[in-house]
């Protein structure tokens, strides 16, 4: 019997009951990918052989009574920005076409140690720069809810794989919303953990002070189980937090919010938000109130400057981080004819290897960091970062968690904003402040927008190292919504044409 429409928790139960093997479960997902990914294009690389070998090993471990974790044998889709030894890793860029990393990222090591089966690498905006996955050098991913719409970005592939039942679990990375915004527009769950909560070792760097890997799934509990599997201190990441991981799994199961104070951020629900998104958001607030939470309004006036500050800080860090793509040690090399010098070959390679958005951000970052402009741009942006942190500190004095719609609108059409970078940047207005302050953020589906029938995301933010709080609220809201709507949002996705 096909299990692809089940949750990871249900699949884990079936594996434990021996009603299915990891090899069968993996084959079902590989078959699903073969059937629908021609339309969805969530994957850049499907590691059929590797996944089946991992699944066979998982079955052997289980038979020997050596189950490695609760996720033993569960398939997962990995964003193509994390290295997996021997498996192509492109970051959605021509620059790394054909590169097979010689080492595992810490996230991948932890997944392997937990017995998780990695199906393949998912599509993304090039070097994680974008909000639609249209910036991938390998073509866009299509939203399983409506194939002519974007699946969000940069982690559109991971979110689409979940929504299309190609995988029950996925890994994303979130620099300004790249986990939460795709989750919101695909009716799935995504969490950006506290900065430093999950190791960045082996995560190809975009903006080091903002980048954070995190778990994605269809339910809050599945997301918590994956969070637990990948989080924790890593001496190979100098910004890793050396403290116990918050108990996110217990929090996701708790199912009550009595007496919790939930702060609604006034500035993240006004002009520019789609009516259906705001209506769905308000319905969720009512449900949380019915569950015994107290709703309070908070104000974060500096969030208004979040996008401006982000589009200075992130490109500045990117202009430095992407200097590593110099055509000398890995990646492609163009124009090495024996006559041209290293710098000419480097420049020719970067011209061919990088796409439009990446070049745009490198130039912007180089400008913002150049002498004469540094104080006015990068320096001012860092001050705004201080103001955003202060706004969060004041708000968390009044509330246990903060909430907002995850995105101002539902999924927009492919191509609609492709030639308007400023319109594209607005997609992250709600998610960016979380990265700037290094705190935790979750998006979970709150229903379908009445105006277009597309999924809406509800964002929950918790203070640094208190990630359990967002899982507690998220788990409670998810259950209340399932009661009210009759079935989970992800279970209402239209059937894809199976080929």
């Amino acid at each position: 019997m096909s299990m692809i429409h089940k949750t990871a928790t249900e699949m884990a139960q079936a594996l434990a009951d021996k009603s299915i093997t990891a090899v069968e479960l993996t084959k079902q997902h590989l078959d699903r990918i073969a059937a629908v990914d021609g339309d969805v294009h969530a994957f850049l690389h499907v590691d059929t052989e590797g996944a089946l070998a991992q699944a066979a090993e998982s079955d052997a471990k289980r038979a020997a009574g050596e189950t490695r974790s609760v996720l033993e044998g569960i398939p997962l889709a990995l964003k193509d920005v994390l290295t997996q030894k021997g498996v192509p890793t492109t970051c959605g860029s021509k620059m790394l076409e054909g590169w097979r990393p010689p080492y595992d990222s810490t996230v991948v090591s932890k997944l392997k140690n937990a017995g998780v089966v990695i199906l393949g690498k998912t599509n993304m905006d090039e070097f994680a720069m974008g909000s639609s996955t249209e910036n991938s050098a390998y073509g866009p991913t299509h939203n399983p809810w409506a194939l002519d719409r974007i699946p969000g970005g940069s982690g559109g592939g991971s979110a689409a794989a979940l929504a299309a039942f190609e995988a029950p679990l996925a890994i994303g990375t979130d620099t300004g919303g790249s986990i939460r915004q795709p989750a919101a527009v695909t009716g799935t769950v995504g969490v950006k953990p506290t900065y430093g909560g999950v190791s960045r070792f082996g995560l190809v760097a975009f903006s080091s002070s903002l980048d954070q890997a995190g778990p994605c799934a269809r339910t809050v509990l599945d997301t918590a189980l994956l969070h637990e599997a990948i989080a924790g201190y890593d001496e190979r990441d100098s910004t890793s937090i050396n403290a116990p991981v918050p108990n996110v799994v217990a929090a996701a199961k708790r199912q009550e919010v009595k007496g919790m104070k939930i702060g609604v951020i006034k500035e993240l629900m006004g002009d520019g938000f789609q009516k259906g998104v705001l209506d769905s958001f308000k319905q969720s607030l009512d449900l949380l109130q019915e569950q015994g939470a107290e709703i309070v309004e908070v104000s974060c006036p500096s969030f208004d400057y979040g996008i401006a500050a982000y589009y200075l800080i992130a490109p500045s860090e990117a202009s430095s981080n992407l200097a590593r793509f110099d055509s000398m040690r890995y990646g492609i090399r163009v124009g090495d004819d024996g006559q041209r010098g290293a710098e000419e070959v480097m420049s020719a390679t970067r011209e061919v290897g990088f796409g439009k958005e990446v070049k745009r951000r490198i130039i912007l970052g180089t400008y913002a960091l150049s002498s004469g402009y540094y104080d006015a741009y990068y320096g001012s942006a860092q001050k705004v970062r201080t103001l955003i942190k202060r706004d969060f500190e004041s708000a968390f004095n009044l509330a246990d968690v903060l909430v907002s719609p995850s995105t101002p609108t539902t999924a927009f059409k492919i191509g609609e904003r492709a030639n308007d970078p400023l319109a594209m940047y607005l997609a992250d207005i709600t998610t960016i402040p979380v990265n700037m302050a290094g705190i935790g953020g979750m998006s979970l589906p709150s229903g379908l927008s009445a105006d277009d029938g597309l999924p809406v995301g509800f964002q929950i933010m918790s203070p640094a190292m208190q990630d359990d709080r967002m899982y507690r609220v998220g788990g409670t809201l998810e259950a209340a919504l399932n009661d009210k709507l009759g079935k989970p949002v992800w279970a209402q996705a239209p059937e894809l044409v199976v080929k």
Partner: protein, 99 residues
């Protein structure tokens, strides 16, 4: 706000080691103008008495014990090299360039 010229963009492209076509430079110069106009808003609230934040959480430098640990073999380290010679990365000439 300072206007950004095509020549400035060409200079930034040189600094960034990206060989851009004339069309790309034209296009980028006009886009940069728009983007810089939007992001310059940060200056409205960046008062002199606000300290900058480079990193969200308090961090200090981290050291590890000075002990030998397993690392990549030369074969692994060179596995992605565009060109190699023996156990080394082979690169185009680095001296005698115009710059």
């Amino acid at each position: 706000m300072a206007a950004i010229s095509r020549e400035e963009v060409a200079h930034l492209a040189r600094l960034s080691r990206i060989e851009m076509t004339p069309d790309e430079l034209d296009h980028l110069a006009s886009e940069m103008q728009l983007i810089l106009g939007a992001v310059a808003r940060v200056q409205e609230v960046a008062a002199a008495d606000i300290p900058p934040t480079s990193h969200a959480l308090p961090m200090t430098n981290v050291f590890r014990e000075d002990v030998t640990k397993p690392s990549l073999s030369p074969e692994d380290a060179l596995s992605g090299a565009p060109a190699r010679e023996e156990d080394r990365f082979k690169v185009p000439q680095i001296l005698g360039d115009a710059e």
